[in-house]
């Protein structure tokens, strides 16, 4: 049995450490926010069609407005913010080396993103969407109308979460955006170079992913996510990681 001491210690130690981290994070809710199925749809949209015994643990996937347009990205991820995130911006966008420096070699960076829920940034996106609503899009107008299209299911209105700020210092971001309408989460940022042929030359940042973008639905609220519309209370703990504290079905 002496050969098993180290493997047993490693497996129990790892699980104890993970449970400890989870408990420490959830020990203090530093932010709370109420989202809906628009911001947190089911990670598996076909869940209702799967036999009940095969459904597993439901998870909700955080959705946000990507703000992929390079010019719009510069509104919230300016040069100063990108440098604060650790990106090197010493080469000018028009420089012949810019494509190589920003196109492939620039490593993505880990930092913190601030999301605003249904605030001025989202209203600006809606206003622009209204302007372009008449224009045909590959999604058949669904995107322009602010709805997410899932084959075989009714369209879901798009998320009202909009990234508006970023940085390496979580506390500074919490001080600036610490009220109930915002979420500060760990995220991965990338840098992109737009060539002259596509409206550049331009260097812009983008939000590549949120570190914990899928949230597990606790056992007591698993029935609630089968409703077409629901509200989700989300808390963010000491480590800046979110978790679900309650889910309620919502009337249409």
């Amino acid at each position: 049995m002496r050969h098993m001491v180290v493997p047993v210690a490693l497996v129990t130690g790892l699980i104890a450490a993970m449970v400890g981290c989870g408990a420490w994070n959830r020990g203090l809710a530093e932010q709370t926010i109420t989202l809906t199925e628009r911001e947190l749809p089911l990670a598996r949209p076909d869940r209702a069609e799967v036999p009940e015994e095969d459904r597993g643990v439901p998870r909700l996937r955080l959705e946000w407005q990507p703000r992929r347009d390079a010019l719009d990205a510069r509104n919230w991820l300016g040069d100063q913010t990108l440098e604060a995130l650790g990106f090197e911006l010493s080469v000018r966008p028009g420089d012949p080396a810019a494509e190589r420096v920003y196109g492939r070699r620039a490593l993505p960076r880990v930092g913190w993103v601030v999301f605003e829920l249904n605030g001025p940034a989202y209203r600006e996106i809606e206003r622009r969407r209204a302007v372009t609503a008449g224009v045909d899009t590959p999604a058949g107008g669904a995107v322009a109308a602010g709805r997410r299209r899932i084959p075989g299911r009714p369209d879901i209105p798009q998320s009202r979460l909009v990234p508006i700020d970023a940085g390496r210092d979580r506390q500074a971001l919490l001080d600036r955006h610490g009220d109930g309408g915002h979420l500060v989460l760990p995220a991965i940022f990338a840098i992109e170079w737009t060539p002259a042929s596509a409206g550049g030359p331009l260097v812009s940042g983008s939000l590549r992913a949120v570190v914990t973008s899928r949230l597990t639905v606790p056992a007591e609220w698993r029935g609630a996510v089968d409703a077409p519309q629901y509200e989700v209370d989300v808390a963010v703990g000491r480590a800046g990681l979110p978790w679900i504290t309650a889910i309620r079905p919502r009337d249409r």
């Binding site: 049995m1 050969h3 098993m4 180290v6 493997p7 047993v8 490693l10 497996v11 129990t12 130690g13 790892l14 699980i15 993970m18 449970v19 981290c21 989870g22 994070n25 015994e53 095969d54 459904r55 597993g56 643990v57 439901p58 998870r59 650790g86 190589r100 420096v101 492939r104 070699r105 490593l107 993505p108 960076r109 880990v110 760990p186 991965i188 992913a209 570190v211 914990t212 899928r214 949230l215 597990t216 606790p218 056992a219 698993r222 990681l241 979110p242 978790w243």
Partner: protein, 354 residues
Amino acid sequence: MADRLEAQRRADRIREFRAELGALRAEGATPLTSEQETVIRAYHDALLERYAREFDIDSTERSAGLSRGLQAASFFGAVTLTAALWALVARFWGRLDLPVQIGLLTFIPLALLGAVDVAARRERSLYVASLFALAAYGAFWLAAIAVPELLDLPLTPGILWTGALFGVALAVPYGFRLVFGLALVALVVAVSASVFAAVGAPWTIAAERLEPAVLTAFSLVVAARAFQGPAARLAPVARLVGLFLGLGGLFVLSSTAAVSQLPLPDRVVEGIYQAAMFAASAATLGRGLAAGRAEVAQTGGAFLTLFLLARYVDWFWTLLPRYLFFLILAAMAFAVIATLQRLRARARRAGGAS
């Protein structure tokens, strides 16, 4: 005699010796007197009996064939047992509360570790123990991935490090090669992930930028020389894993600069890695032949062939008419056959002279 593998090799040599002696006797060229044969046979019988008692080796062709069947069955059993555990979790997980889920995720690998220990005591050939070990490793990764998911925590390089250490700690005392190989793969990913995490990048970028993984893999090949004690018998596994990951990574880097971190134009990066790939695979082939390590020579040869074929297709597929493209490949095959035949003849002459 240090372990079962060495005992098995000696038993195989004894079996071959007896077969050759029988053939010589049938052809009337027996070099030994009947007394000498009797003494040697008695000594070998005693040796085989001791090995069978201590190491549960295969002393006949038939039992060796059955052993290969046992190895295949234990591998198949381990894979299906692990798949059953993962499927069980997926199926019933939704009905369980968090403490029960975490309790089960802890209990399953611990129970399988206990099964490894019990099986290893009962059966010296370790077929059943290796089955449980592989399943325990699968259950460890199930827990390492599912617990953070349940607690909404991110996967971190620390989890990869723990997985690598768990695999090594489980494999080394018993000599479980497959578990050891998988643990070394986890170790390469853990080192590479930690390098990127240390510079403020997401660790998952390790899959998109291959240089740290390639360097770590080749370091394994060098480190295998220093393996001592119970780990020494696993040195060939470390060499193979290191060579596969190192040469495999270099092959990808030589094909596309998109997975490189070098701050140079794409063509230059691909040129550098094409030269490095040719040198590394040729050196591996040469080193394997010189050291008499068949697995190293075969790995080097396979990657060298793959690389040359890839470059040939890359450079000439659009340049040459199809008939000429394939004709040149056929001519290359003839050239290889001619070269190998000449080498074989030279080796035969050298053997005859000695």
